[in-house]
Symmetry: C2
Subunit: 350 residues, 2 copies
């Protein structure tokens, strides 16, 4: 606990009451919008509040009522586009519902001690509910630290956690991306997956496999990247040497950017030689060279849904394991084209 100097307290309710010539309870009623307060009293009280610069003490309020309207968000990697958009979206949705947000930034969910401290903090602060941005398995552990009675919603969590959850349907996203490449005429589609621990990576991979299967295509070996352009570049350098590889579905837009760079260095043109689809639709994706065909995730919608689920639980008091799925959308741009030599009958060439 940091040692802080003696506090300096401002005016309190009874100060306002004295000034307005009423009881402290009347002030409370005015503040809380109770019905049975006469108009004249109300104006007197409001005037006194303004004159004194009074602001009510929320701690006292929470203590007295036992409920708060703060919700906690536990997130990691908030510098990444996905998580930060999510937090932003939840924040905006919360503001609309007159809730405020305490964001706990975990530096890697595996840091057990850190996530424990953050959850403890949030609970002790009397958070009315918690949202876990939980895109990796390790988040479950942090989530389980929450005492019963505090409603939880996960974002990008797993169904088997038995917890209210909202996710972008990344499986469908993978499906969409892969189908799009197959429909352009490619015999099969290669996949550069995101980090294995992330649920999103796995779901996109499954979507990819499903699309290949339904088209009767053979799944080529899968490369594994991080979320960064740097790791995409590494994978891209390998893929660029494989003549068969004419269509790639990348884990996200930044990975796709890395791949584009690697392809360019090897003299393989996009989309003439290699077609590419990303994921996320970061704002600048359309300005890559060439503009990246990708799958958009509607983060704002995810934020709204997450808040809705949380408010439902708050209202009913039931910890329903209800779920919501947000559908991704394919955004066609310029990185997908038919293969240079349609593989119809001709066989591969070196």
């Amino acid at each position: 606990m940091t040692a802080l100097p003696p506090p300096q307290r401002g005016p309190v309710m009874s100060d306002v009451a004295a000034r307005a010539g009423v009881s402290h309870q009347t002030v409370s009623r005015v503040l809380n919008g109770h019905p049975h307060v006469s108009a004249t009293t109300r104006t007197r009280v409001l005037a006194a509040i303004a004159e004194l610069g009074y602001r009510r003490n929320l701690s006292a309020r929470v203590l007295a009522t036992g409920r708060s309207n703060v919700i906690g968000v536990v997130a990691q990697n908030t510098a990444l586009y996905g998580p930060s958009s999510m937090v932003q979206a939840i924040g905006e949705a919360a503001l609309g519902a007159d809730l405020s947000l305490t964001v706990g930034h975990v530096a890697g969910y595996d840091a057990t001690a850190a996530s424990r401290r953050i959850v403890e903090r949030l609970v002790q602060q009397g958070a009315a509910g918690l949202v876990f941005i939980a895109p990796v398995d390790a988040a479950e552990e942090a989530m389980r630290l929450v005492p019963g009675g505090v409603p939880i919603v996960t974002v990008d969590g797993l169904p088997e956690w038995q917890c209210a959850n909202v996710s972008v349907d990344q499986y469908t996203g993978g499906l969409l991306a892969t189908r799009h490449l197959l429909e352009a005429g490619h015999r099969t589609v290669w996949h550069v997956a995101g980090p294995e621990p992330w649920h999103g990576s796995r779901a996109r991979e499954e979507g990819w496999r499903a699309a290949l299967a339904e088209a009767g295509a053979v799944a080529p070996p899968m490369a594994r990247a991080g979320w960064s352009a740097a790791s995409g570049y590494q994978c891209g350098r390998m893929l660029a040497r494989i003549p068969d590889c004419t269509a790639i579905f990348a884990a996200n837009d930044h990975v796709a950017l890395g791949i584009m760079r690697a392809m360019a260095e090897q003299g393989r043109r996009i989309p003439e030689d290699v077609s590419l689809v990303g994921f996320d639709d970061v704002p600048e994706a359309g300005y890559f060279h060439p503009g990246l065909t990708t799958v958009r995730q509607e983060f704002a919608e995810v934020g709204r849904q997450a808040l809705r689920l949380l408010l439902d639980q708050l209202a009913t008091g039931v910890n329903a394991a209800e779920s919501a799925l947000v559908e991704p959308v394919l955004i066609p741009r310029a990185t997908v084209a038919p293969p240079a030599r349609p593989v119809a009958d001709k066989e591969k060439h070196e």
Copy 2:
């Protein structure tokens, strides 16, 4: 105020005390690490806490002590790379100092009502101090809403606000970028500035002008973009038609990306025909096509400094208007080259 159902309270201090056979005050002493508690008592109390799953109520604690260790962060545009990195950095620094963070997300500082509400909230919650990510003039208004006695630190604020402030030295950043282009042999440097209200835009512009002045170069007309690739693209389409324009300093990396795209579409090669320097060094900047020369901002350092200034004020109780400046670093990559037709007699090609 959202109507929430009846609370459900957990065990309190006296429950723990009863179980451990001591007084509630002893429990408090154990919790706060007071010196004069015997080892046996301490273990008994800790055991009781564990058995009951007790967690102390922070609201009550704040109410009793009058101090909290929550600090508020007021930020807008947290989906942008800069602000989100900043919040992330402050969050990590705060965790280290055992402070927690309440982040209020303002949707555009001009939304007066919203920022007022957020500041009110933060103050009422008893925030020990506030950090304003205040890159635009309008933030001053929000900042002035804070009652005296609550320490404030601004990030990217203005010196004339008479408030503790930490900024990246964007003036020097602009200087560095422009000098780098001039040293490559360009006669002058064009500038695509960021949005006018942002202090960073203005400081970078001034750095640009200063570098031109010191080299005796004439400042060409300045283009104005947003922070997005889309707006950079718009400006780029204009600049691409100006044969004289061989060197550009862009407001940030995404704007630079848009410019690169526009140049490519007009058949102007980078860096052979046009040299380009960005700002920020977003993680993927090195993978643009070609890798973007840019100026890196050390956001993590900014976060640490901001927290340091805040803790100083908290400790001394003085609202010192101390400031910290974080130096940016030029990251040379592949978008800068000598002009095709060197303007000086000496010319060098690789």
